[in-house]
């Protein structure tokens, strides 16, 4: 258990630093969310019936976390292929999930830049008040949201061991996940059949926990749901990885780019 945590943490720190040095990732993490934040601010400010600007700022910030994940987590395995180390990683005695999970969580983790940049952008340019109702819970809810989004990315990445166009497919999920997890759009506005789908997605609860911690409301239930679903994603990713890794070995397609 301790060894597993050490592998995870070391991998997380390594990949977080590595990603932080990538201009493309930093653009995606720190600048692209500002675009959506700006759009949301301008749209919400144009009418008097829209939710508050802080609501928009928080939504855009968490959208940024998903952006980095959607852009890169699907391609996490492909990246290892390009580096030429995927076979070595699969052959290593460490479980593959302990190698992959730090990558996808680190990818989501650099979304923390989006949280900072979006809130700062809103404050400085649009005068969005940064009053947080429950600062401590907010400090817990943000990493929980990051973790849940990273683990959703892990589930995606694990299904892509045998799918070479993974990165593009995961990018295509950027808008749909933004839409159905209530990051900027209340679930009540979406068709009813989407609600159960949204509930099965940990980012829905992560977003709700972040928003309630900042704007007021119950944080405990969404936070627990977020963490519970994150644990379920980890188990699902383990199963998928095991299955697809075996398939890739059988078909000898592991290193094919």
């Amino acid at each position: 258990m301790t060894r597993g945590l050490r592998v995870f943490w070391t991998g997380f720190v390594l990949h977080f630093k590595n990603l932080s040095a990538s201009p493309f990732m930093m653009t995606t993490a720190a600048i692209w969310p500002l675009v959506y934040a700006t759009l949301a601010f301008l749209m919400f400010r144009a009418t008097h019936q829209a939710p508050s600007l802080l609501y928009a700022a928080l939504g855009a910030a968490v959208m940024g976390i998903w952006s980095t994940t959607a852009t890169s987590a699907g391609g996490a395995i492909q990246q290892q292929r390009w580096y030429g180390i995927l076979e070595i990683l699969v052959a290593a005695p460490t479980r593959l999930i302990l190698v992959l999970a730090p990558i996808t969580v680190a990818i989501a983790g650099i979304g923390i830049y989006s949280v900072c940049s979006t809130l700062l952008w809103g404050r400085l340019l649009f005068g969005v008040p940064l009053h947080v109702s429950h600062p401590l819970l907010f400090a817990v809810a943000i990493p929980a949201a990051v973790l849940s989004i990273g683990l959703l990315g892990l589930v995606l990445a694990s299904t892509f061991v045998v799918y070479r166009s993974a990165q593009h497919l995961s990018q295509a999920l950027e808008y749909p996940i933004w839409t159905i997890t209530g990051m900027l759009i209340p679930l009540s506005l979406l068709p009813g059949w989407i609600t159960p789908v949204a509930w099965a997605l940990a980012p829905t609860w992560g977003m709700r926990a972040v928003r309630h911690a900042a704007l007021g409301g119950d944080v405990g239930v969404p936070l627990l749901a977020c963490l519970g679903l994150s644990a379920a994603y980890t188990l699902l990713a383990m199963l998928l990885l095991h299955h697809f890794e075996r398939l890739a070995r059988e078909r000898a397609t592991l290193s094919l780019t």
């Binding site: 653009t27 949301a40 749209m43 019936q49 295509a172």
Partner: protein, 262 residues
């Protein structure tokens, strides 16, 4: 003349197939064909959240704007991709006419951008009940082609910058962001600050979107002649600027031996 046309059509098509990495169905369908629809759905529902405009308003704006995705990235990669495949020096060493060489690469990108954008209308019709009269369809199609042309012109400029800068995807991404915010795609131009509104006047898709919204509401193509011509002129200006910049950077690259180094 025959050689010029061969380089323009055959060379352009071969280059597109070789360099456009999205051409596989597994990538093309989710990214380019479904992408505009998911963008439209997001902004239409965001519009409902803000009580800003009707679904149709967002369908038209985002569908036309989505031409920029294929045009900016397609044109950027059409030139930058040569460096990745290490064929840039070979291409630029040929005596081929540069207009045929580069404009030929722009034509498939333009067609692809128009196809991409049209799927947005289809998605809007299927999922959000977007409706317009059949008589408006040819006008909308023409406006999509003109918007795609303008975006391809801007893409040419980005591609030219790719001869000097390494991060074409970042430049294309940021340019798309500017179009999304400034051009009245999701925020009415009169709700934008004055300087943003003024900037939008010189950007691709602004005029095409305004015209397309009017045509979708039943206006005739003749009544939107002015914005259509302005959009064409903007596209031509960017295309010309991109072409000139390509020549300048090519000559500088030859002189300094930096074509493959950027």
């Amino acid at each position: 003349m025959r050689t010029w046309l061969r380089i323009f059509f055959v060379g352009g098509l071969i280059s597109f197939r070789a360099l456009f990495s999205w051409i596989r169905p597994s990538v093309y369908i989710p990214t380019l064909l479904l992408g505009p629809t998911t963008q439209i759905l997001f902004f239409a529902y965001l519009g409902r959240t803000a009580h800003l405009k009707s679904d149709s308003w967002f369908v038209v704006g985002n569908a036309v704007q989505s031409a920029s995705l294929a045009a900016l990235f397609g044109m950027g990669f059409a030139i930058d991709g040569e460096r990745w495949t290490q064929t840039l020096s070979a291409v630029l060493a040929t005596p081929a006419d540069r207009a045929a060489l580069f404009l030929g690469r722009a034509l498939p990108v333009l067609v692809n951008a128009a196809i991409t954008a049209s799927t947005g209308f289809l998605g809007g019709a299927l999922l959000l009940g977007f409706r317009t009269s059949w008589s408006s369809v040819p006008g909308l199609a023409l406006l999509l082609v003109v918007a795609s042309f303008a975006c391809t012109g801007l893409g040419m400029l980005i591609g030219a910058l790719g001869l000097r800068l390494r991060d074409v995807p970042i430049i294309a991404n940021l340019t798309m962001a500017v179009l999304l915010i400034f051009c009245g795609v999701n925020v009415p131009l009169d709700k934008l600050p004055g300087w943003m509104h003024a900037t939008a006047e010189g950007l691709p898709v602004t005029h095409a979107i305004a015209a397309a919204r009017r045509v979708a509401d039943g206006a005739s193509l003749g009544s939107v002649r002015t914005p259509l011509l302005v959009e064409l002129a903007i596209g031509a200006a960017y295309l010309a600027a991109g072409f000139v910049l390509l020549r300048v950077f090519e000559q500088q690259g030859r002189r300094h031996g930096t074509l493959d180094r950027a």
